[in-house]
Symmetry: C2
Subunit: 166 residues, 2 copies
DNA sequence: CAAGATTGAAAATTCAATCTTA
DNA sequence: TAAGATTGAATTTTCAATCTTG
């Protein structure tokens, strides 16, 4: 075997770990989305928007920040918020201090809806993810996957943090 | 605090592990897709189809099986294959023994293209995933995420296996 | 009638262009 | 001029209906 141009392949174990990430995420997401649609009439994507807003200070976030959080393009988020506004779960408000920006705000009705739906989603997470793992597994999983995610999160963590203008 | 109807929340650690899965997958996928598009002019989604076919016996898979593998609806796969056929990387062939079924077959040109593109993708996987982890991390990651994925994979594993008709 | 695949219509997402404000 | 958000056009994905074969 003459030495071919070295291709930087991965070892079996590296490949297995990477593919397990793809596979587990895909299967769990599909399942949770399916269950949420069937039992609560809401998309996992919409649900996630409500969750992020509910945990933000004053239940509000700039469109751009929210788009980053839910891993969606800005125009994609614009349309997703359109739908949530129509259903009365989110409100659009001008951002005081920067008139270019817009805040998406979780309404009382949106929070109410989230409270109704959350138990269904969380049951799914427990059933399809948590229930298979030990406490040690959970700690390792969070630690390992955080090491992967952090370097890609634009340098700093995910949260806008107190330094964010407006 | 009067005992409210018990909502089955998750603990902090459970939530952290679950969210780390969502976040790491999303960030890595976006990054790899971006890099592949920029440097190789191919979508991560298309790339994955080529990979699955290249690893299948005789480089061929039934449309349904392939759709399951890449987590896409049947009609979605039909259209994805349309594109790959147009570019000459995949061929459609009747399935001998079951005339309802169709095989997607990786062409020589498709295999060639895959060989060109793989190094770019694998470099990304190494850079954004593997490089942050120890050997123990990799083993734990594969073990844990497999425990999550397996129960959702329709009972048996992922591979069609030798028992598959046709 | 059920299974496998495809098609047309609808929904979701992205890209490029636009509009407003910093 | 750049940043933030939105819009129209194009792409991608899904749903329901259809067509063919078991």
């Amino acid at each position: 075997m003459t030495s071919a141009p070295t291709i930087p392949w991965l070892t079996e174990k590296e490949l297995a770990a990477w593919r397990a990430l793809l596979r587990s995420h895909g299967l769990v997401s599909n399942k949770l989305d399916e269950e949420l649609a069937a039992e609560a009439g809401i998309t996992l994507a919409d649900y996630e928007v409500l969750v992020f807003l509910s945990e933000a200070p004053e239940r509000r976030l700039r469109m751009s920040e929210l788009a980053n959080s839910v891993l969606l393009s800005r125009s994609g988020l614009t349309r997703r918020i359109d739908g949530l506004v129509q259903r009365g779960w989110v409100d659009r408000q001008p951002c005081p201090g920067d008139r270019r920006a817009v805040h998406a705000v979780l309404t009382d009705a949106g929070l109410e809806r989230l409270r109704e739906v959350a138990p269904i989603h969380l049951r799914g997470v427990r059933e399809h993810v948590i229930s298979h793992l030990t406490a040690e597994d959970l700690e390792a999983m969070a630690r390992i996957l955080t090491k992967i995610a952090d370097p890609l999160a634009g340098g700093r963590g995910d949260c806008p943090g107190p330094g964010t203008a407006c």
